[in-house]
Amino acid sequence: MVAVQDTVKDVHALDVDKYKYGFVTDIESDMAPKGLNEGIIKFISAKKNEPEWMLELRLQAFDRWKEMEEPTWAKVSYDSIDFQDIHYYAAPKSDADRPESLDDVDPELLKTYEKLGIPLVEQALLAGVKNVAVDAVFDSVSVVTTFKESLAEAGVIFCPISEALQKHPELVKKYLGSVVPMSDNFYATLNSAVFTDGSFVYIPEGVRCPMELSTYFRINEANTGQFERTLIIAEKGSYVSYLEGCTAPMRDENQLHAAVVELIAMEDAEIKYSTVQNWYPGDAEGKGGIYNFVTKRGDCRGANSKISWTQVETGSAVTWKYPSCILRGDNSVGEFYSIAITNNHQQADTGTKMIHLGKNTRSRIISKGISAGQAQSTYRGQVNINRKAAGARNYTQCDSLLIGSKCGAHTVPYIESRNPSAIVEHEATTSKLSEEQLFYCRQRGLSEEEAVALLVNGFCRDVLQQLPMEFAVEAQKLVSISLEGSVG
């Protein structure tokens, strides 16, 4: 927990420019014209040199999407999106001939990732040094994926999904849309029609992925949307830990990010999926920022499988996101650990669904929501115990912390049980940052901001502990920085 000290230092170091990822990379881009129609979808599919069946799926999804309506049930409000005023494809020109190795990557892009603090170099695999393989997605394309060869030796496939469509079409065809159906919801359907890139991970039977895998998503161009698609398959007895990070430049207009993530865990497999979401949140007056409308779902398909979602949501102007687990296999386990921090005019409606189908399935939900400024934060979650899910168990703890009198915190749980041997427990609390605790810390010498950072990190501890060590420190800093200026 030394990190708290570091956090405190960083808070001071960053008092000038709090969103340090807000710069723009000056790079020439290859862009599709604005607008959405069959032609654009064909353009995207052709750019990716996709098999015919993929294009057909895209067009089917597009037909469905045209008949769908934007969901309005979430507790968020924003100006309606003009879907014809968005570029659905943007890629650095230098990416046209896909770079085969790091040496071929545009130095401007390498500089960007360096600035973002993301290691795109493949350090030699030294004993004791923990490596992280990175897939870097820049606007609509993956610009580089590190450690591909080392991973391939272990039989692990980690590549952009566009590449997987070329090299492993049978795997993509088998699993894509098998967890989140093509027309699952408005944004997922849109994504199915126009997705551009994202990561593909395949862990073969019995393999424990030798390193952390991660994808960094970056939106750079103006007036673009990012529609990434991620698919992770963990075969019998395998294990993988995956982390995604997201940043975007500071712009006055809102930008749309509508992703779909599908996870499949077979018998005895485990997938740990962590997110540190730090899209540009908009300025203090609520101008600009990313609309983050994401569908994430994991399928515990095999017995004894486990899927664990951990998310630290500090960015985006509006977040609409419910990473869920379908607990199909007997004894399978689903977890959802979430920190959602909203400050200024941010709005977040996030939570999870735990669908218990198999016997003795277990789920655990720990959600920590923090609202400051004029922000609105909602936890929305569903726990459903099917008739056949004998012995199922769920535990939900859902806490909200309010800082200031202009913000809101809401909790909307749906708890449904149809099996008498199942046990479902739900607890929730909402309270304000304790004035007594703040004074106690200050009496011991902490400044008000340090005290808030300490208390909020303490409030979030149960979730922060779930992050891989490499990212826990970063997340702690983010927690403190996001709340800057929320007190006093």
């Binding site: 200050r442 009496q443 010498g445 902490l446 008000e448 990190n457």
Partner: protein
């Protein structure tokens, strides 16, 4: 080292301290006794700078400097320490982490280089052993699930660690059984030093059997109505507050 002159202070618009004066010299231990509602805790909060405790009149000079308007953390860095009557529980923040964060914040405020993790750990362990604070307790979230005695020992541990110039002990005896009280008092006595003054606030004389004060003051209705040596505490114990309050009136 501490000079309180004609102090008037309000809480929520209500005047609680009504012209309190008190002078404490280096290394002295002063006890303030008084019935419930006399303003004892208010005095401790005014000295440590809690929000909502407004000084309306008078002054507090500490080491030649006025404390009025100073932030709580500034006072802490200058050596003002308050041992709380009800130490706060802070879930999710381990005791050790809290101690280190606070310790380094104070060092930084004084412009002293921060202590590295290993030396800090050694120092805390040594001081904790004396107060029978186990390393298991140091790992637990601050004061969460601690017994009354453990919480008070944790307060004294912090006092030992931060080495304040002025230590204010607010009803440190409340909620303690006799063994716990002795342990805490031993801890406090070990910290008596020529450059450290103490202000011991208590309702009962019992604590003063273990922490023997140089001076005793009786606080009633926001003012000190009687001062004396340690024998004054015994007098109070024998006759009760009622007789002293009425004879002073």
């Amino acid at each position: 080292m501490l000079e309180i002159k004609n102090l008037h202070a309000e809480v929520g618009g209500k005047e609680i301290l009504k012209g309190l004066s008190l002078s404490i010299g280096d290394g002295e231990v002063h006890a303030i006794m008084g019935p419930n509602g006399s303003g004892k805790s208010t005095l401790s909060y005014v000295l440590s700078g809690r929000e909502g405790y407004e000084v309306r009149q008078g002054d507090i000079t500490y080491c030649g400097e006025s404390l009025i308007g100073m932030l709580p953390e500034e006072r802490a860095a200058k050596g003002v320490f308050l041992a709380f009557q009800y130490p706060l529980e802070i879930p999710g923040v381990s005791t050790m982490n809290f101690l280190r964060t606070a310790y380094n914040a104070q060092l930084k405020a004084r412009g002293v280089e921060e202590l590295d993790a290993a030396s800090f750990l050694r120092m805390v362990r040594a001081k904790a052993d004396l107060l029978k604070v186990s390393s298991e307790m140091l790992k637990r979230p601050l004061n969460v699930g601690f017994s009354g005695g453990e919480k008070k020992r944790n307060e004294i541990l912090q006092m030992a660690l931060f080495e304040p110039r002025l230590a204010i002990l607010d009803e440190t005896d409340s909620g303690l059984d006799i063994d716990a009280l002795k342990l805490v008092a031993d801890g406090v006595n070990a910290l008596r030093a020529p450059d450290r003054s103490m202000l011991v606030i208590t309702h009962y004389q019992r604590l003063l059997d273990y922490i023997i004060p140089d001076f005793v003051h009786v606080l009633s209705n926001g003012r000190i109505i009687k001062s004396g040596g340690k024998e004054l505490a015994l007098e109070l114990e024998r006759d009760g507050y009622e007789s002293i309050v009425s004879s002073a009136a």
